[in-house]
Symmetry: C2
Subunit: 198 residues, 2 copies
DNA sequence: CGTCTATTTGAATGTACTCAAAAGCGGTGG
DNA sequence: CCACCGCTTTTGAGTACATTCAAATAGACG
């Protein structure tokens, strides 16, 4: 029996885009999930910890970032509704994480741990395909980002960001956008003034 | 019957790291491959073309790059022996490629086209897992690169590159290394002089 | 050997950063 | 509900890292 209007709707829809599950498989999959609320400014993960789960965002906004030797934060990715987030290397290898993940808004995630994910792969091999497709898309997006970081000036990067993620700009403090784009908040502020004057 | 000392040894070894195939599956997989030699400076792919194959490098060195509006080349990835290379987005969506792929050395690749890959997924679903693992690793490597591009100065990026890929530095012209690291060849030359003086 | 491309070197320039201070904004408690 | 506190954004001046342009040198390939 399909659940309707539950916290699971979004994730099932997410999965439905790539593979088709029968009701038993849905039931089984859901039984492997745990939900967790992360309050604004709280951490889902910190460097040194082992990332125990892959996390699907039902509501809210997370950021994955590192802090360099000068204490400056650099954002590796944002995650909002319908995205999967985690420190993949730490998760797979059970080694200490290198990234922080914290919440920019109160955030609800659905979590699956490694043991359950392995079980899922074993019992419902279709999920191998599902996660292959998810990662493929993430890989392509990242490759685009690398290419743009190499090809574009700070101004072009900012304009592309706004064009590509208009909803992000409204939700996320400018400082965080700068940390994602690879420039200082001060410089981003100057850019925006200059662009506004056009 | 397993083939030995053939062009297929390397790719079977590559696959063997992640999944186990029985002889029939090996046979079938190999039947789906075509080999192709790309001479130095020749293209495997150009923007606008559709990327028809995923490519496993048996021998040689490829680069995937874009050319910006000023005609400057930016390298998204290098590929050497034992790596998979292609324009994934173009391959999956059958849309015009955005990258060039060309050979820095005479290069031998084993190719699988989309139709055959789909057939492979269907007949030997283990390959869903295999390519999931391959992409996962590529994703993690890319994420590291993004993080380093955000966190490091040009000098640190160069030193990390040399440390991580010592074999690349010997094979690849400095100009190409600069195009990968996101700096001008002139600046890389200055860096190296400065570092040598230490 | 000659041609073409890559690398080195130097000088001038520009993009983005640092430091410092003021202004704006949001949350919290009195 | 207002006042205050802390954090973010803005603004300006000086600086540094990396680029551009130009020319000389070195190296690779036919």
């Amino acid at each position: 029996m399909l659940t309707s209007n539950t916290p699971f709707d979004l994730i099932l829809q997410n999965i439905g885009k790539h593979i088709t599950l029968d009701p038993t498989e849905v039931e089984f999959f859901i039984s492997l999930l745990e939900s967790k609320l992360i309050r604004r400014k709280d951490y889902l993960l910190q460097p040194g910890e082992i990332c125990k789960t892959e996390n699907f965002i039902v509501k809210g906004c997370l950021r994955t970032y590192s802090v360099d030797q000068d204490g400056v934060e650099h954002i590796v990715m944002f995650g909002i509704e319908d995205w999967w987030v985690g420190d993949l290397y730490s998760f797979l290898m059970a080694t200490p994480a290198q990234y922080y993940i914290d919440a920019l808004e109160d955030t609800l995630v659905l979590q699956i741990n490694k043991q359950n994910l392995d079980l899922l792969y074993e019992r419902v091999p279709k999920f191998e395909r599902f996660f292959r497709l998810i990662i493929q898309n993430a890989f392509i997006a990242q490759q685009n980002r690398i290419n743009q970081n190499l090809s574009f000036t700070a101004e072009q990067r900012y304009l592309e960001f706004v064009k590509k993620y208009p909803h992000f700009e409204q939700r996320i403090p400018q400082k965080q956008v700068a940390a994602y784009l690879g420039m200082t908040p001060v410089f981003l502020s100057m850019l925006r003034r200059k662009l506004a004057g056009k």
